[in-house]
């Protein structure tokens, strides 16, 4: 049986669904399908909380949004991409509104906006503090009206098929039945999200295992700026559950064990009772997470069984404000920490949240590999540079999801029908053999998946965390090499074809190891400190050497090659990042 579509989208989250709708609206003749390892409404977009930024108020301007984004990204953003992004974001959010997204409202019925970290104006649209949930369900439910969007729910893509330098489709496993099939396509869009599961403490869901990054990297497409890993300053200890930045935007304070608003000691402004934009708790995430580490070093944090923490104080906000604007924060604190933020302090610590890096694309979502597109967190356009601002990721997946959909549609409609050539057929057979014989029927493996995974996570936290050094990274690189070796004799006990989650875990781990190596490798080579990448041995930003994106390629022999094309600068020359003054 041959499964075939004009455009195939891998991943059914926000970016994937937006891309699929863009394809069917753009060209009624094309067939499109979404392959997703979970049902689309389970995708991790669902967990986004705080909001989505887009200029809507008369006192705001596109240039100000662009400047906030570029300075927030420590001048590593592609400025042409940022200009496209801020221009199209309002239209995309309005489109979502027209599709039924329940944006919170002003008393007069207009869409409401709230302040957010690193933003000079109020421009963050929100649906209480379940913005991602509402956005995803609105997109998913809207996608149901298009019968032409075919879906492969709970199928896991294991390999991109490449024919003569051009993507020809994927190989995927249907989890329910275990059947392994090639799905051919003229264009493939990767929308698989990030890879937070590489780290031990993360806001990311269990499914965020860097599959798309690994798929593209193995197929020869370069990954960009992988060394930039965002730590969100306020996650719950142990679970890593996100306490949204909106909690600070509504007026929450970060305090250390002495009840002191410690951010004032880190060039982030002076405390005031009500929130001030681009100041104190509304500074950018990288700077806040770094301040936490400094507080730990000064011994001013609180020790718990899950490591040091500080407190987020919402008690001075009224219960009505918390219930109206932060109901999910209250729900999460009650369920998972057994505390009520109306009366008690919330324990928080920085947790891995977002990958600024990803598959390298242009402003149309196209990767250098012909026929392969990417959008959302898996991609790196880059509008986020060295540090993403809160509430920029949701509009990003809409703007670039739509753009990738349109670009893939026009690529597919102009492309010749792909006859499945022997070379591709051989790739499919190789992959089938790898899955069936090498993994499913493997005997004598002795390395447990969980042991390798836990050690990888510890390695990344120790070696490539908020602060890194040449020696910590070199050590991490060595340990990852050993783990790759150990993975070759991974132990698989589950021989069943039906919903074999052990096989899935092994494949995911393999992608994570590859992606982890690119992060460590690129971090080792970037001998400067910029945004989320802080080298203790190179504490200053070095625009002379590193005003450049890192592009890491996997060569045919498995070795890595890194190139440094200069950052695209249009109107905002590199300057100092100023917050709170």
């Amino acid at each position: 049986m041959t499964l075939s579509h004009d455009v195939l989208i891998v991943g059914g989250g926000g970016a994937g669904l937006r891309a699929a709708i863009a394809v069917v609206e753009d060209d009624p003749r094309l067939t499109v399908a979404i392959v997703s390892k979970v049902y689309p409404m389970r995708s991790h977009t669902v967990s986004a909380e705080g909001g989505a930024a887009a200029v809507i108020r008369p006192d705001d301007s596109l240039d100000e949004h662009a400047y906030d984004t570029i300075s927030g990204g420590d001048w590593l953003c592609a400025q042409d991409a940022v200009e496209v992004f801020v221009k199209e974001a309002p239209e995309e959010l309005l489109r979502l509104e027209h599709w039924g997204c329940p944006w919170s409202r002003e008393p007069d019925g207009r869409v409401a906006v709230r302040p957010f970290g690193g933003m000079k104006r109020m421009r963050t649209w929100f649906a209480a503090d379940k913005t991602g949930f509402h956005l995803l369900h609105t997109l998913f439910q809207t996608s149901l009206r298009y019968e032409r969007i075919a879906r492969y729910d709970e199928w896991y893509v294991t390999k991109l098929l490449v024919d003569d330098g051009r993507v020809a489709g994927v190989v995927a496993v249907e989890l329910m039945s275990g059947r392994i099939e090639a799905i051919t396509a003229k264009a493939v869009i990767l929308c698989t999200g990030g890879c937070g599961q590489i780290y031990p403490f993360t806001t990311n869901a269990a499914i965020k295992t860097g599959d798309g990054m690994g798929l593209a990297y193995r197929a020869g497409a370069p990954l960009k700026d992988m060394e930039f890993v965002q730590y969100h300053p306020t996650g719950l200890p142990f679970t890593g559950i996100l306490i949204t930045e909106a909690a600070r935007a509504e007026g929450g304070w970060l305090i250390n064990k002495d009840g002191y608003r410690y951010l004032q000691d880190y060039d982030l402004g002076t405390p005031s009772p009500t929130p001030v934009l681009r100041s104190m708790e509304l500074g950018p995430r990288d700077r806040l997470s770094q301040a936490f580490v400094k507080e730990v070093e000064k011994g001013r944090t609180v020790d718990t069984p899950y490591g040091p923490i500080v407190h987020l104080d919402l008690r001075h906000l009224r219960e009505t404000v918390i219930d109206a604007r932060l109901p999910f924060v209250r729900e999460l604190c009650r369920s998972y920490e057994n505390i009520d933020p109306v009366r008690e302090l919330i324990p928080v610590r920085p947790v891995v949240h977002y990958m600024m890096g990803g598959v390298h694309t242009d402003i149309y979502g196209a990767t250098p590999l012909e026929g392969l597109f990417a959008a959302g967190e898996v991609a790196c356009v880059s509008i986020n540079g060295a540090n993403r601002l809160g509430s920029n990721s949701l509009p990003e997946l809409l703007v670039f999801g739509a753009r990738a959909g349109v670009a893939a549609a026009s690529f597919a409609s102009g492309a010749q029908d792909l006859a499945i050539r022997p070379a591709v057929r051989a790739q499919v057979e190789d992959e089938r053999r790898r899955l069936e014989r090498d993994l499913l029927q493997r005997d004598g493996g002795k390395e447990p998946i969980s042991a390798i995974r836990e050690e990888m996570r510890a390695t990344m936290e120790e070696g490539a965390g908020i602060y890194r050094s040449g020696s910590s990274l070199a050590k991490a690189a060595d340990r990852l090499r050993v783990l790759q070796e150990r993975f070759r004799s991974v132990r698989l006990e589950d021989r069943s074809r039906t919903f074999n989650t052990e096989l899935l875990a092994a494949l995911e781990l393999s992608f994570m190891l590859d992606v982890a190596e690119t992060i460590v490798h690129c971090a080792l080579l970037r001998e400067e400190s910029r945004g989320a990448h802080q080298r203790v041995d190179f504490p200053a930003r070095d625009d002379h050497r590193f005003l450049a994106n890192s592009l890491v390629y996997r060569d045919a022999d498995g070795s890595r090659r890194v190139e440094y094309p200069p950052v695209t600068i249009t109107r905002w020359p590199p300057g100092e990042r100023v917050y709170g003054r």
Partner: protein, 136 residues
């Protein structure tokens, strides 16, 4: 064991619903009893029609009807029927309709409990009126 995968579906296990599933949970039992109550609602309608018919036939038939109604079997049946009708009415008035009706007062939606209380008052008034007509 040689493992073959099926074409599209694995062999799913479809548990059968046990005969006494409705005894597992109070709400399930109530649900089944309420479903059953409709039989007794129907019976009251039939009983009422028989009564009307008897009245229309004249005093002789009416007296015979009353005698028949007073037999122990009929009494028992009607007592049981009354219980079910009460269950039906109570669940309808105080659990179902408060959730089904949206009543607004000065733009704010009244909580279901208030609507339930309103239903209770209306019920008492209707009963008082009936009592006044019959006994007065």
């Amino acid at each position: 064991m040689k493992v073959e995968y099926t074409q599209f579906h694995p062999r799913w296990y479809r548990p059968r619903v046990p005969v006494f599933w409705w005894l597992r949970r109070r709400s399930y039992l109530l649900f089944v009893l309420r479903e059953l109550s409709s039989v007794f609602v129907a019976w009251f309608v039939v009983f009422l029609l028989l009564l009307v018919n008897a009245v229309a036939q004249g005093p002789e038939d009416y007296r015979r009807f009353l005698d028949w109604s007073a037999t122990p079997g009929m009494l028992l049946l009607n007592v049981v029927a009354l219980c079910f009708i009460l269950l039906h009415a109570v669940t309808w008035l105080f659990t179902l309709s408060p959730h089904a009706m949206v009543v607004r007062l000065r733009g704010r939606r009244l909580p279901p409990a208030v609507i339930g209380a309103g239903n209770l008052v209306a019920w008492m008034l209707a009963s008082a009126l009936a009592a006044f007509l019959i006994l007065g």
